[in-house]
Amino acid sequence: MAFPHRLDAPELPDFSMLKRLARDQLIYLLEQLPGKKDLFIEADLMSPLDRIANVSILKQHEVDKLYKVENKPALSSNEQLCFLVRPRIKNMRYIANLVNADKLAGRFRKYKVILTPQKFYACEMVLEEEGVYGDVSCDEWAFSLLPLDVDLLSMELPEFFRDYFLEGDQRWINTVAQALHLLSTLYGPFPNCYGIGRCAKMSYDLWRKLEEEEDSETKGRRPEIGHIFLLDRDMDFVTALCSQVVYEGLVDDTFRIKCGSVDFGPEVTSSDKSLKVLLNAEDKVFNEIRNEHFSNVFGFLSQKARNLQAQYDRRRGMDIKQMKNFVSQELKGLKQEHRLLSLHIGACESIMKKKTKQDFQELIKTEHALLEGFNIRESTSYIEEHIDRQVSPIESLRLMCLLSITENGLIPKDYRSLKTQYLQSYGPEHLLTFSNLRRAGLLTEQAPGDTLTAVENKVSKLVTDKAADTRWNLAQISSPGKITDAFSSLAKRSNFRAISKKLNLIPRVDGEYDLKVPRDMAYVFSGAYVPLSCRIIEQVLERRSWQGLDEVVRLLNCSEFAFTDMAKEDKASSESLRLILVVFLGGCTFSEISALRFLGREKGYRFIFLTTAITNSARLMEAMSEVKA
């Protein structure tokens, strides 16, 4: 239970430096607008900002009132307005409208826009077009790495996923490269680099270019982190689409962890209030159960409660002096633990109630069947019934995507019938959602007679060899039109079944899989499936290269985008060589984090996670949905 870290586990670098850095930069920017000012903050930035600063810091730098950026006229009467926003067109329009309204009213104020993590040219174009360019000063706040935990850095850019994987917009690649550059400046160069995916490759290239350009002090530094691994989310959609059953993942799926904290409603707190709780390694109770399979959590919590009881009981029969000691030294800790215990017990109960209600058992059974590829008909009708009963639209969509990816697309008859029923149950406008899902390769239809013919096989091999990420590249090679479509649908084949076989993702179970004493990373999915993303990382780290994984890489359609780069002179200490930074482009799930933490304990590594955002199946589906709830 609650595996401690191995004694020989390497120490993690101190990432709190990143917070101070971001805060100092923000303060610097605020000081660029001297005097009293009102600050308008975009809703999405409030939680990240809360993690690095607070009101009194802002006040010290003459921020008077705080407002949320929303589509309403500003009530502020301040002579100076400052806006802290993401670089989005709609934000710029909002600001431009506000400035123009002031102008119309003959009002003169000073305006400053702070865009984070970076400016986009298109944003300034909007200011120019609206005629306020020059009235507004624009700054950039390079706040792109938020340490959510001792081993977890988030860029807090959920839109990365849609922007890149649906729209093909590479705007955030520079942000990623900048973030990596910052890390290597602070924590030394990374002697060993690996990656897979088109975005990974581009980010890596751009980052390298930055480093060359700066040609800086980093060269002489000793590396603190021995390896870096970049991975595109579309290498493994399957894992992200599965229901999570480790505690932290389950809490995320059920309550949505936002920026490292969660809002526990009255049903959890057993009071009339909601409570915002930070979930990280500082929470001693949480830290011990976060990576556990949910079925172990109860036992752990009750054990913990008994221990706590025993510790409290010790006060009986104490003399005055001992009691004094007890109160001054232990009581505070016990009280804290007691609070945390109550909260997590409440959370577990609430999760159980919800899951029992929605027939979780049957759902998990269907997922496992899909992963293993048996009873496809049965699973399909399960999904159909899900849709017919108007159970959550996101859930239905997720199951359809899981079916599609594991089966290399739906057979046309099923695709049509499920789509029709979906539109009837949840609204015809979801037509647009289906079109998005198809473009992203998440929900596709098998081409008629798509059991690969010999000819197609040849073509597909040719195609994958020639241009690995055919999704994008093929369109360039071949003339536009029907042929392209045919080719790209071919290229998008997920090949999940073949990859799963090759990498042994479905563990052979003899007898019961003991979730209390996991034997492999599959425990994060009840022993049914080893997360593909984590398996790839494990295999490459073992080999220190992609050697021997050619077939897997080919099946992932990534022959051109799997890379290794080793430093020639190895100045890295053996300790640093056991620290691995894994970069998830497009988001990672808590299940993946738990799985890799497990792997780390087994092998004596420690993983550090950098993700564009924490994700889960619901977030992925919502990102693809055209109809905002």
Binding site: V55, G168, E214, S271, V277, M352, Q390
Partner: protein
């Protein structure tokens, strides 16, 4: 992990707590309950203490002094927020050891000292009369300096395209878009489209840019030019989401019907239009009926929301709820909806069942599953499996007598027994055990029914019956 963190850290990381009371209703979690009890028994001890080591928490649960909290305050009273208790610690300047936090890759950088041979070199040469940095947006200077980009010197098509290709080869989407904005301004539509068609990366950026800026007209032109007919149709169709007025939305959908969707989507769009058309009629009618106050169903069950823009299944549910008995001729009749939209039997039965069960109209429920054969015998049939029927009835708190009938119709004996036991349909359990000649199970069940009840008597009668040959 045992690194010492500043007070700041502790402030942000400490979690809040509210006294714990427990509710006893859940019987599935004995383990949890036990832990809870243990924790709970400590409550008094803990709560007696003052809680001054806790941070103050506002009613929303945000820590007082946090930014999210403060914004809510401004929204409410616009009074000044209380000070948080954390003081800014001495500003630790690591800018010294830090990289210049500058160096966003920008357009300028690829002109700077380019050594690439070929015409591009000459291009930068031609520009050498101004310092290279001023050609491009200097993105990423936190110092706030910002030089306006001027790409005006790239006038020949060849120069422009080279500029674009260079941007693409750098992978930075922001730079690609910047160049595209310039090209959009300085090239005719046709030329721009033609060149983008063979540059897919740039094309995707351009499409996304048009979507974001809402330049619908140019986007449609582009799709037309590229002959991407489906995307053209979908993009046009998408606009209906921005139209609130139902009549106008309907008219707009009408214009979508002829668009070049796939055959399959064409039908869906047609259905969308028809559905909204019906909804508008039903809505007007029912609003009138409801306000007139003459119709019983509307008086008993006032409508909670308008039916406009609801999905088809919801509309069907509504029709089954308010207009169940109407003849097929009216737009609001369920049968009419079923025929118009070719709703499969299964879906229809599920929906009708849910609606009628909600109204506790058990006769209607009965009728849904009753079929007559040519000899006039009646038989119960369900396209969805009777265990589902039972589940839905149970959710709508159907009485045991009703449930019983349907549990009896479940074909699989095990499922039937499980359901009957779960839902306390004693007769079914008892009869099934008898039919199975399962004396042991019947005995076991005897302990579950109330002492002295009719059920107990019935069980005893069966157990004592000499006519049954028990299998155990």
């Amino acid at each position: 992990m045992n690194r010492t963190k500043g007070d700041e850290e502790e402030y942000w990381n400490s979690s809040k707590f509210k006294a714990f009371t427990f509710d006893d209703e859940d019987d599935e979690l004995s383990q949890l309950k036990e832990s809870k009890r243990a924790v709970n028994s400590l409550r008094d001890f803990v709560d007696d203490d003052d809680d001054d080591d806790l941070e103050r928490v506002s009613w929303t649960g945000e820590p007082v002094g946090s930014i999210s909290w403060s914004i809510k305050e401004t929204a409410g009273t616009s009074g000044s927020a209380p000070e948080g208790r954390e003081q800014l610690k001495g500003r630790n300047s690591f800018y010294t050891q830090l990289p210049k936090p500058t160096s966003t890759y920008s357009l300028s950088s690829f002109f700077k000292g380019r050594t690439r041979p070929g015409s591009f070199q000459s291009l930068s040469d031609a520009l050498s009369d101004t310092p290279p940095k001023s050609y491009a947006p200097e993105l990423g200077r936190p110092k706030g300096e910002y030089r306006v980009c001027s790409l005006e010197r790239f006038r020949s098509l060849q120069d422009k395209l080279q500029l674009l290709e260079e941007a693409v080869s750098m992978h930075d989407g922001n730079v690609i878009t910047a160049v595209l904005i310039f090209l959009k301004r300085t090239l005719s539509k046709e030329i721009l489209f033609r060149e983008l068609e063979v540059r897919q990366v740039a094309l995707r950026h351009f499409i996304h840019f048009l979507k974001e800026t809402g330049d619908q007209k140019l986007l449609l032109d582009l799709f037309r030019f590229l002959d991407r007919t489906e995307e053209l149709a979908l993009t046009h169709y998408r606009e209906h989401l921005n139209i609130q007025d139902p009549e106008k939305r309907k008219e707009f959908l009408k214009t979508c019907i002829g668009l070049p969707f796939s055959a399959e989507d064409s039908a869906h769009v047609q259905d969308h239009y028809t559905l909204l058309e019906r909804q508008i009629i039903i809505e007007a009618n029912d609003r009138h009926l409801e306000s007139a106050g003459q119709t019983e169903i509307f008086r008993k069950h006032p409508r909670k929301a308008s039916i406009l823009n609801m999905p088809l299944v919801t509309t069907l549910f509504y029709a089954c709820f308010y207009h169940y008995t109407e003849s097929e001729g009216t737009f609001s009749s369920p049968i009419n909806l079923k025929k118009t939209f070719k709703i499969p039997d299964k879906q229809y039965v599920l929906t009708a069942l849910a609606a009628r069960a909600k109204l506790r109209a058990w006769n209607d429920v009965d009728a849904l599953f009753t079929t007559k054969n040519w000899l006039g015998y009646t038989k119960k049939r369900a396209p969805i499996g009777f265990h589902r029927v039972v589940e839905i009835l149970h959710k709508n708190s159907a009485p045991v007598q009703i449930l019983q009938d349907y549990v009896n119709l479940v074909e699989d004996v095990d499922t039937k027994l499980n359901l009957a036991t779960k839902l306390k349909c004693h007769d079914v359990v008892i009869d099934t055990c008898r039919d199975l000649k399962d004396r042991q199970q019947l005995l076991a069940y005897r302990s579950k029914v109330d002492k002295g009840s009719v059920e107990e008597e019935k069980i005893d009668a069966i157990l004592n019956s000499s006519q049954i040959r028990w299998k155990n």
